[in-house]
């Protein structure tokens, strides 16, 4: 049996690609994404689950990756901001954020996009109240939030229209 204190082999599917790496079981998913896999789109804001800058989707559920020990996502399917765009083409949601001024300094944007994507995948036509609740765990210090909520609402309308 391998040393329980040593690194472990971890297998993940990240943005559709199978990955195998060695990491200590208590390494945070955020650090594994950024340091092992060089996916630096997910940001560290507060490091205590309050700001949402590190939010990613694990097996269909939005989570704060700073609060997840990597052993707990063994064999999971993960989507990060790098998995949102199709090669160089932005997703409709990303485009809508840009059109509405929902992205400014950019630190909160990856988490905002994933929280909004998670909402739209469950509720294709969210009410303004549902948009605000879905994004309440993501802090932004640039936009004042109105442009972000507008970006989500416009993306929802656009997908329905066409």
């Amino acid at each position: 049996m391998s040393d329980p204190r040593g690194p472990r082999e971890i297998s993940l599917t990240v943005n559709g690609q199978g990955k195998t790496l060695r990491a200590y079981p208590m390494e945070r998913l955020l650090d594994v994404l950024r340091q092992h896999l060089k996916l630096t789109g997910s940001k560290e804001g507060c490091g205590e689950g309050e700001c949402g800058a590190c939010a990613v989707i694990v097996d269909g559920a939005l989570v704060n990756s700073c609060l997840v020990p990597v052993l707990q996502v063994q064999n999971s399917t993960i989507v990060t901001i790098e998995g949102m765009a199709q090669s160089s083409r932005l997703s409709p949601l990303q485009k809508s954020f840009l059109d509405c001024g929902g992205a400014q300094c950019g630190i909160c944007t990856p988490g905002m996009i994933l929280a909004a994507h998670h909402l739209l995948s469950r509720v294709p036509r969210p009410s303004p109240e549902e948009i605000r609740e879905a994004l309440a765990g993501n802090l932004c210090r640039c936009t004042g939030y109105a442009q972000i909520c507008e970006g989500v609402a416009n993306a929802a309308n656009r997908e329905v229209l066409g």
């Binding site: 208590m26 949402g52 939005l62 609060l67 020990p69 765990g137």
Partner: protein, 292 residues
């Protein structure tokens, strides 16, 4: 100082018997971790003194919701999202689904578990007053077997409980006889999402004409443990719900709580708000007479 993952062990046996056997053979050595929404904060800041952890996340034996005729059993590993999405809980235990909606954010609700909230035993935990109101029982499990305890007897003081070192909470059981009560809950904090409560109240009541036949009031953040206001309740039972009874309930409630000054609020503010919330609840209960 930030924690170094090299210093920590984490095991994920993936089934309950193996977790229990680990806890039985080396009690007080292994710290159970479920969704990590509390423990990972301590860990990241270098304040988690226990270095050996065992994962309960997604154990099938802890993540289930069973609906029987007389009670609903919620596995301790169910997340707040599991609770918000369950139709019977939404319909019959709205105080619990409301508390789940107030806890953290969507991302935290997808990871935080009801069992974790109980064991972490924060006096400010949003879901605990609802469990007091619904007269929950807890099923505790260890390698020695299972036992059932009243939730009202679980917390024995600030962050202490009757849970033995080799035990886990397996399920939370709620009796199904509250569907026809009037329910009320309110969280007072800086904001609903993320913010920890300054005061959080959950209550149920039932009237026969204007006479109170049943009333239950529980408050968080005003004592070392979430508190059921038994004296306030007893003084209301069998009485007409009028202005005098409501004013008395307000002063009884303030006498029954033990709020403190801390970073989130002051004792004086908490007492005033607790009294006001009791009044708001009883006014809503009184108004329910005139509504069909």
């Amino acid at each position: 100082m930030r924690a170094d993952p090299v210093d920590y062990e984490l095991l994920a046996p993936g089934n309950l018997p193996d977790v229990l056997s680990l806890l039985a053979h080396e009690p007080e050595t292994w710290l159970p971790i479920a969704g990590g929404t509390d423990l990972m904060v301590l860990y990241a800041s270098g304040r988690l003194s226990q270095k050996k952890l065992v994962s309960l996340w997604n154990l099938p034996e802890l993540r289930f919701i069973d609906v029987a005729d007389d009670e609903i059993r919620i596995g301790a590993g169910c997340t707040y999202t599991d609770i918000r999405n369950h139709p019977t809980i939404v319909h019959e235990f709205s105080l619990l689904t409301t508390a789940a909606r107030w806890t953290g954010s969507i991302a935290n609700q997808n990871r935080g578990t009801l069992g974790g909230n109980i064991v972490n035993a924060s006096p400010a935990a949003d879901s605990l007053p609802a469990l007091l109101i619904y007269e929950a029982d807890l099923i505790l499990v260890s390698a020695r077997g299972e036992r059932r305890v009243l939730y009202t007897t679980f917390h024995t003081g600030y962050k202490s409980s009757v849970l033995a070192p080799d035990e886990l909470i397996r399920a939370i059981c709620l009796p199904r006889h509250f569907a026809n009560h009037i329910s009320y809950s309110r969280k007072v904090g800086a904001r609903n999402a993320q913010a920890i409560s300054k005061v959080c109240l959950a209550a149920l009541g039932k009237l026969d004409r204007d006479t109170v036949t049943d009333v239950r009031i529980a408050i968080g953040s005003v004592a070392p443990v979430p508190l059921r206001l038994r004296s306030t309740e007893d003084a209301l039972k069998g009485k007409a719900i009028d202005s005098h009874a409501i004013a008395t309930a307000r002063s009884n409630a303030i006498a029954e709580i033990q709020p403190i000054d801390d970073i989130r609020s002051t004792a004086a503010y908490r007492a005033a708000v607790a009294g006001n919330l009791v009044v708001e609840f009883l006014n809503a209960l009184r108004e329910s007479i005139t509504r069909p």
